[in-house]
Assembly symmetry: C2
Homo-oligomer: 442 residues x 2
């Protein structure tokens, strides 16, 4: 049984306008993650993920891994320390400039901490190459820490200097082939955001420093977002607000403007990296040619924080169910109460065991065993942290059969409450789970 | 069905004394990992883990995670970028000197890329503190990339500049309590090495730059190791060779000298970090005091490479079964052979499905579908890569009932071969698996 009293979760209350070490509080996800004891800043734009946040990131990493691997992508690991000369060959060291974290090793050789790995991948393909056309398309990915020396890191995990990112890279013999991979990867992104039940929009975007011919941003609407998108009120097609248009290009209907946060970006890069770095392949006939590359990014810690921005209230965290630190928390009776005397902790154990037998919940239920605290106080804290389901074992647990208060926090109507017997509770949880599974299969 | 032809595995042959880009070949694990297409150097002491190596590291990370969490340790993530002023407070920035990777950010603030996180943890405890004595002991851990600017990186993954490491930290109210955690963590280490079937010795060690009162190294015997340990021929107690003794302190019997590789290190640190960084706790009575810290490290990529050094021959990789990239590979008939005509690929499919139904093997079987290559050539390559079990579907598959050649590569006797029907094969695999499970439960 996982006990909340055993979890390292340093809860604090930040007075209004208070100065916090290493950080300005500029977003609600940042404030709530800090106050609920999930994240601590160590320095400007750098963060420690405490156990509950780390658990959420684990879940998100697994979801991403499973979605991305449906495309045939293979997981690898590339070093963060990157020889600067690779970036000189593509010209990006000058293009990106002060946002790059750079350093010299003890032999005075110049390195950078990669914000992304197009150069490293092109160099790898050159190093093992030339590949045969039969080996392409090739898709590889990693989930690892990336670095960006932001001038003003802000909003906590939304704009950090060290952050967890998925990056995937495709190598192809032709633009057509690259487009096929691009479609597959687009479907994998959509599958991921469906599983998170997040309304993320794919919008055409300029390629910027990355280069290449096709590019999309993936934007999650959130009131605090710094980007803006136009979304068609009829067909839901979206575009970046910079393209400023009042009617939808696809169907002509009106559009509405939404603030949003970029959570992913995808590119067809062409030969911008493969050409200068010599990543070639041998076609079925004729001389070797540079591979056509594509790349795909999702900011993992950024997506986590963005989803909290989109779903939370000012006072309480709300998570996509699939990545809440725990799906369910049980709050037992207060020590010394009538229920405590009659039921003891054993009743909570049995309730816990019954819930853990449900598929998908076996390792995902937490017990708030801080029995010296009132139920009301613990319920308030559980609601603030946003466990999707909160089960209170209070007075009504003395009824025959015992009944429990059940709070569903991540529904449209905030914190739906109902009383339920054990059978009704198990039924409710099974159906909710089934619904999620059905949604995931769309 | 996982097909070898779909895996990115750039196999090369390195001629004797050849110059390889970015690297000198100085160890057999390094040579074999490179030749078998599992690892590529990107720069001196920096490596890309290709899909098969990444898969092995995934398995090792999971094993470590499961073992370490038996102690109650909670997973967190600390940033690699670390403000240098923390290390100035403990004096380690001067002690370690040029092995630290250091850099300045765009605002000219000094950082280092952490080789270990004692300062960060002490700073975190100070930041959230003072903790109550009721919150202790607290054990946290992470598995993340660490950095060391080695003067001469060598032996591939054995001495890299960026490497994956488990680091765990304990915080306690007393030395007694720290010793209890230390014992638990020692048991977790032993459990891990038992599961890998590696004869790792725990030896008393000087604390060096880390400081503190108690310290052990964990040494794996390997002919290529740069350390030396004395191991008692009678009771197996081991000590560092630097303590130079010819008879065992525990039982008086003779000792033998073994070359070995350090794969882990454990320390009771006392207040070396908590005192200067202000990591205090409040006892049940009296003023707050610095916590007693302990720390625990395992080089993850180093342990992987060390186990290959210990188990492999000069010509073929040999893995602890639990972390081989795949447990089993099936080699199907050559295209155009009599078996191919009679059985086709369908026979291999069915064999694959039958094996995947065995517990623990469902996602861990690979099919070498490069049917244009002879069985002999593919067998040689599978043996060189060291899949623990190789199943060849050749001529004898035409027998009634069909029979398969089964090679067990990670047994004492190298590459045991036998002929087996499907039932015999499944029996053999189930028993082998049971034996592993039994060993893990010791």
């Amino acid at each position: 049984m996982k006990r909340l009293s055993q979890i390292f979760q340093p809860i604090i209350t930040i007075p209004k306008n208070a100065k916090i070490k290493n950080t300005d509080i500029t977003s609600k996800s940042q404030k709530l993650l800090l106050e609920c004891g999930l994240v601590r800043p160590t320095s400007s734009g750098l963060f420690t993920l405490l156990p509950l946040a780390r658990r959420s990131v684990d879940k998100l990493e697994n979801l991403i891994k499973n979605c991305i691997e449906t495309t045939g992508a293979q997981r690898i690991s590339l070093p963060a320390l990157t020889p600067a000369n690779l970036w000189e060959k593509t010209g990006r060291i000058a293009d990106i400039g002060p946002e790059l974290v750079t350093l010299k090793d003890r032999h005075d050789k110049q390195y950078l901490l990669a914000p992304t790995h197009e150069e490293t991948i092109a160099d790898l393909l050159a190093d093992v190459g030339p590949l045969s056309y039969k080996q392409l398309p090739l898709i590889v990915y990693q989930i690892s820490n990336k670095y960006r020396d932001e001038h003003r890191p802000k909003h906590g995990l939304l704009r950090a200097r060290e952050f967890l990112m998925l990056d995937a890279y495709g190598a192809h013999t032709s633009l057509d082939c690259a487009h096929t991979t691009y479609q597959r990867m687009t479907a994998a992104y959509q599958r991921l955001f469906d599983q998170l039940h997040l309304p993320v929009y794919q919008v055409r975007a300029p390629s910027g420093d990355m280069g290449g011919s096709v590019s999309h941003e993936w934007q999650l609407p959130a009131a605090s977002g710094e980007d803006q998108i136009h979304v068609c009120v009829s067909c839901s097609q979206a575009s970046l607000a910079s393209e400023s248009q009042k009617s939808c290009q696809a169907c002509g209907a009106n559009t509405k403007v939404l603030s949003s946060i970029e959570v992913g970006h995808t590119f067809i890069l062409g030969t911008k990296y493969s050409d200068p770095l010599g990543a070639h392949y041998v076609p079925s006939s004729g001389p070797s040619e540079p591979v056509i590359m594509s790349c795909y990014g999702i900011g993992v810690t950024r997506l986590l924080a963005s989803s909290l921005e989109a779903l939370s209230t000012d006072k309480a965290l709300r998570w996509p169910r699939a990545i809440a630190p725990y799906s369910l928390i049980i709050i037992g009776p207060k020590e010394g109460s009538k229920e405590w005397s009659a039921l003891g902790e054993n009743h909570v154990h049995q309730l816990h065991e019954a819930i853990c037998r449900l598929p998908g919940l076996d390792n995902d239920v937490l017990v708030d065993d801080r029995h010296q605290m009132t139920i009301g106080k613990r319920l308030m804290m559980a609601d603030r942290l946003g466990y999707p389901t909160i089960v209170v074992c209070g007075k009504a647990a003395l009824d025959s059969p015992p009944r429990y208060e059940v709070y569903q926090t991540n529904t449209e109507v905030d914190a739906t409450v109902r009383m339920a017997t054990l059978d009704e509770l198990l039924d409710l949880l099974s159906n909710g789970h089934d619904k999620d599974i059905a949604a995931n299969k769309q």
